[in-house]
């Protein structure tokens, strides 16, 4: 098992390298870059004063060099104008759009993003698991239909609309806060219990909104899986052994139906990060989403590049987690893997 994890970790390295190349190339596909655009704009409006600074930055961040060289400098395996300082050295680069280092732009929002998405994934699993299982066991009963109805509403309603509706009624009936991720009172204070409470309070609506469509899809999938498993002969065997109903369900088919459930973790994470952009804008959440949108529009390449790298890392970690869980859950995967390696 340990070897398996180690090997998977090693495989992640070349994957990340390839991903980083793709990201860098794609970002640089449109003609020009942030600074050359800015220079052109300054020229057009006759603001010669800024030109020198832009030119200086262009040289400073090696944007005047060939693409391959720029990439290597960005990664940190090639000396830039000020020596080795790329991602490997922990220098995330400069955000031209925001006029500060990328680390500063991203800083807190990165953690908010992780927290928010973690909460959303948790919500998805906590809600869809019992709902899906119940829908399968009581197939074609009112529970099943209710779960289906909730699911379809969740899938069919545009997220931002749902966000607005929930915001309005959440505020009106439950007094839930509107927008933001923390009460303005705690904005610049260090982390404390009260601040954490406020964050959790603010998380409720975004979590539901972001998680709902994923939940709906997951409920349907678990229901279908479990329904398949319930008809399998080994369930009949358990019944013939005299295993009581609840134990029969949890011990046998539910565990089997869990497999696709678990393997979805990897793909769930990125879809939530990218899916939550619009909601973050609507709910004015300080997540990474709006920053990514802005960076991509303005060709702010270091910012966009870093955010995309971060999301890719998230995917890979998600995949790793789901693979490890799968191996723990299913002896067929675990044991055939071992015999092959």
């Amino acid at each position: 098992m340990l070897r398996f994890i180690l090997r998977r970790l090693l495989i992640m390295i070349p994957t990340l390298i390839v991903v980083s190349m793709l990201i860098f190339v794609v970002i640089n596909l449109p003609p020009g870059d942030f600074l050359s655009n800015q220079i052109a704009e300054l020229r057009a409006t006759g603001q010669e004063a800024g030109l020198a600074k832009a030119e200086f930055l262009r040289h400073e961040y090696a944007l005047d060099r060939p693409l391959a060289e720029q990439y290597l400098i960005w990664i940190g395996v090639w000396p830039g104008p000020s020596g080795f300082n790329g991602l490997l050295q922990g220098d995330l680069g400069w955000s031209f759009e925001f006029g500060k280092p990328v680390a500063e732009v991203v800083g807190e929002t990165l953690w908010f993003t992780v927290i928010l998405n973690f909460a959303a994934v948790l919500f998805v699993y906590l809600v869809s698991f019992p709902l899906g299982a119940l829908a399968a066991i009581r197939a074609n009963s009112w529970v099943d239909y209710l779960a289906a109805a909730v699911g379809y509403i969740g899938l069919a309603t545009p997220n931002f609309l749902l966000a607005l509706i929930l915001l309005y009624y959440g505020q009106k009936w439950l007094g839930l806060p509107i927008g933001g991720l923390v009460d303005p009172r705690y904005e610049n204070e260090p982390m404390s219990l009260a601040k954490l409470g406020s964050i959790l309070h603010h998380l409720i609506i975004p979590t539901i909104v972001i998680g709902l469509s994923g939940t709906a899809a997951m409920v349907r999938r678990l229901r279908a899986n479990l329904l398949d498993e319930l008809g399998k002969p080994y369930v009949v065997t358990a019944k013939a052994k005299g295993v009581p109903p609840v134990r029969r369900l949890t011990r046998y088919p539910l565990r089997m139906a869990l497999n696709p459930f678990v393997s979805d973790i990897g793909s769930l994470l990125p879809s939530m990060v990218s899916g939550s952009v619009l909601i973050s804008v609507v709910l004015s959440l300080p997540t990474i989403g709006p920053a990514l949108l802005e960076a991509l529009r303005a060709q702010d390449q270091f910012l966009a590049g870093f955010i995309l790298m971060f999301i890719s890392l998230l995917v890979l970690v998600g995949m790793l987690i789901s693979d490890i869980l799968l191996a723990l859950l299913d002896p067929r995967i675990r044991l055939t893997k071992r015999s092959r390696s």
């Binding site: 002969p233 080994y234 065997t237 295993v243 009581p244 046998y252």
Partner: protein, 595 residues
């Protein structure tokens, strides 16, 4: 102990008002063995499932009673018993063995955990007690290493061991009644013989009653004291086993008996006399073989490990003959069929020669580039094992049968329609059905469709890979008849692959017995079945159950021949340099043994 009275079961949403099981009555006494016999759809499985209250979804009991003499509570009606009452009986007093051990065992739990669960649920046994009892039971059912079996998952065991695990699981609660639903149908004959013997000895030791569900009259004859013959949910005939099988009164029972494939009684002939003059002539004269295998081997690479599926096969399929290849699972017979179709390529060094006409130049197929094989593919066709999986559900029967004609561009559409109709008529299907889809046909009819498709291109050679093993016995007989008559009429050569000696006995001109990728014996059926020489062939023949109570399976012979080669007499054992050679012990009779 168990009395089933006028039991009726129906499907809730079924279109026909007729119940699937109606008015079935029988009883099982303590220590007795009763067999429910019938073909698929006869309601035998539904009947035995209703006893434990594990009917499939949609099926419900609509009449009758199932009385069971309970140990504590006296006689109870299992159909009206409370759920918890029924649960207490399941697994402890009545337990069940299922047909497919692979799917009937949970893939996620060890054999030990699944078996111990029975004791933990019913016996109030402690964890260590349960474990000890399980280990004892594993040893009893013949696991070579009970400790290891306890830790194994089902997918790590062979088919035979899995069924042993299933039996251990059913037996560990010391039930008073064991229900066995086709317990050996998924197993090879030699394993079947051993598993049946095991159930019998366990029954003798514990005195439990056995209710066995099977389609195989041979199994019945070996196992049962009494028989209940079912057809379409009704009892046709019931009574003591010797009476029903010895003097069947009902027409259906007679029909079943007649259709049951049996190895015919060949008089003990001297090997020389069994070889007909023509055989003797062809033995010396150059043989006109349509297909020849020379030194054919096939190795599959599975990751780092290499599996030798076939080794050193030399065979000839003579023009116009039926060559039967017999072997159990893993013997390499299907690999051989795929090589004969050139669906796979043999290992380098092998030659597969095809002679289109008598005296014509032989073509080495294995050396041909893929596109040069087109001509051969027209002349050699295959009939597949599973008529359910081998026909596309999205194509009409007419287009399935006509597809080879389209692919090879043989004729225009009108001519194709005409030919499809003719083919359908030839295999006994109504040509008007050409526009229907496969799901509208029964298993036997589907296999006829498969045969018609194989005949579409006027082949010279037909390769049949277990064409009847998915069919009921009475249907099997019809399909075999069809194959035989087609072969006669069209002058085809047949390569017939089967695990079933009885099927082979009626069809083959020559029989080849394979084991572990090698030919162990080869002879005309009259010789092979009357005077088998190789211990493995002897075991195969001994293991075939016959529907005659006076001729039980000789389990010692089976265990000897089907076991490891070390158990065989010295002459047959492989030497350090490899297996012994194939020796001609009599004209046309080859055996793998030391000369």
């Amino acid at each position: 102990m168990l009395r089933v009275e006028t039991l009726s079961i129906r499907f809730r949403r079924s279109a026909s008002p007729r119940p699937a099981v109606s008015g079935v009555s029988f009883s099982v006494g303590a220590g007795q063995s009763v067999a429910l016999v019938g073909e698929s759809g006869s309601g035998k499985t539904l009947t035995c499932r209703s006893i434990l209250g594990i009917l499939p979804r949609g099926a419900e009991v609509c009449g009758g009673s199932v009385r069971f003499g309970c140990k504590k509570a006296g006689e109870v009606d299992l159909l009206t018993l409370s759920r918890s009452g029924l649960r207490a009986i399941r697994g402890s007093q009545i337990s069940m063995i299922f047909q497919e051990p692979m799917s009937a065992l949970s893939p996620l739990h060890t054999i030990g955990a699944q078996t111990a669960e029975v004791l933990r649920l019913h016996g109030n046994a402690s964890r260590s007690q349960a474990r000890a009892e399980c280990l004892a039971m594993f040893e009893r059912v013949g696991f070579p290493d009970p400790e290891r079996a306890y830790r194994s998952y089902p997918f790590q065991l062979s088919g035979g061991l899995r069924q042993r695990a299933m039996i251990a699981m059913a037996m560990v609660g010391r039930p008073r009644l064991l229900i066995a639903d086709e317990p050996t149908t998924a197993l090879d004959v030699t394993l079947q013989a051993q598993v049946l013997a095991l159930i019998k000895t366990l029954q003798a030791e514990t005195g439990m009653a056995v209710l066995m569900v099977t389609h195989d009259l041979g199994v019945v004859a070996n196992m049962a004291d009494a028989v209940v013959v079912l057809r379409a949910g009704r009892v046709m005939e019931s009574g003591a086993c010797a009476d029903v099988l010895g003097r069947p009164l009902h027409g259906y029972t007679r029909k079943l008996m007649a259709a049951a494939p049996m190895i015919p009684d060949y008089p003990e002939v001297a090997p020389e006399a069994a070889v007909s003059p023509t055989d003797a002539a062809t033995a010396t004269a150059p043989v006109d073989a349509i297909l020849e295998f020379h030194g054919v081997a096939k190795t599959f690479e599975r990751g780092a490990s290499r599996v030798r599926a076939l080794a050193g096969i030399d065979l000839r399929v003579r023009r116009g003959e039926t060559l039967a290849i017999v072997g159990e699972s893993g013997s390499g017979k299907t690999t051989l069929a795929r090589l004969a179709m050139l669906a796979d390529r043999p290992d380098p060094g092998a030659r597969i020669l095809f002679r289109p006409a008598a005296g014509a130049e032989a073509v080495d197929l294995s050396a041909q580039p893929p596109d040069a094989l087109l001509d051969y593919r027209r002349r050699a066709q295959m009939v597949f094992q599973d008529p359910y999986a081998s026909l596309s559900p999205r194509m009409t029967v007419g287009s399935i049968i006509g597809e080879p004609l389209t692919i090879h561009g043989v004729c225009d559409a009108d001519e194709r329609h005409r030919r499809v109709r003719a083919l359908m008529a030839r295999v006994g299907l109504d040509p008007a059905w050409a526009t229907r889809y496969p799901h509208a046909f029964s298993g036997g009819q589907r296999q006829r469709i498969g045969i018609a498709r194989a005949l579409a291109l006027d082949p010279m050679l037909l390769i049949c890979d277990e064409p009847t093993s998915a069919l009921d016995v009475s249907v099997q007989a019809q399909v075999l008849d069809l194959l035989e008559s087609i072969k006669e009429r069209l002058g085809l050569s047949l390569m017939f692959i089967s695990h079933d000696l009885a099927v082979v006995a009626r069809l083959a001109d020559r029989v080849v017995v394979m084991r572990a990728g090698q030919v162990v014996e080869q002879a005309p059926p009259a010789v092979l079945f009357s005077a088998p020489v190789h211990p493995y062939t002897q075991a195969l023949i001994a293991a075939s159950p016959e529907p005659d109570v006076n001729r039980p399976i000789d389990i010692r012979k089976v265990a000897l021949g089907a076991g490891a080669p070390d158990l065989w007499p010295a002459a047959f054992r492989p030497t350090p340099d490899g297996p012994p050679p194939l020796v001609e012990v009599a004209p046309g009779h080859f055996v793998r043994r030391a000369a």
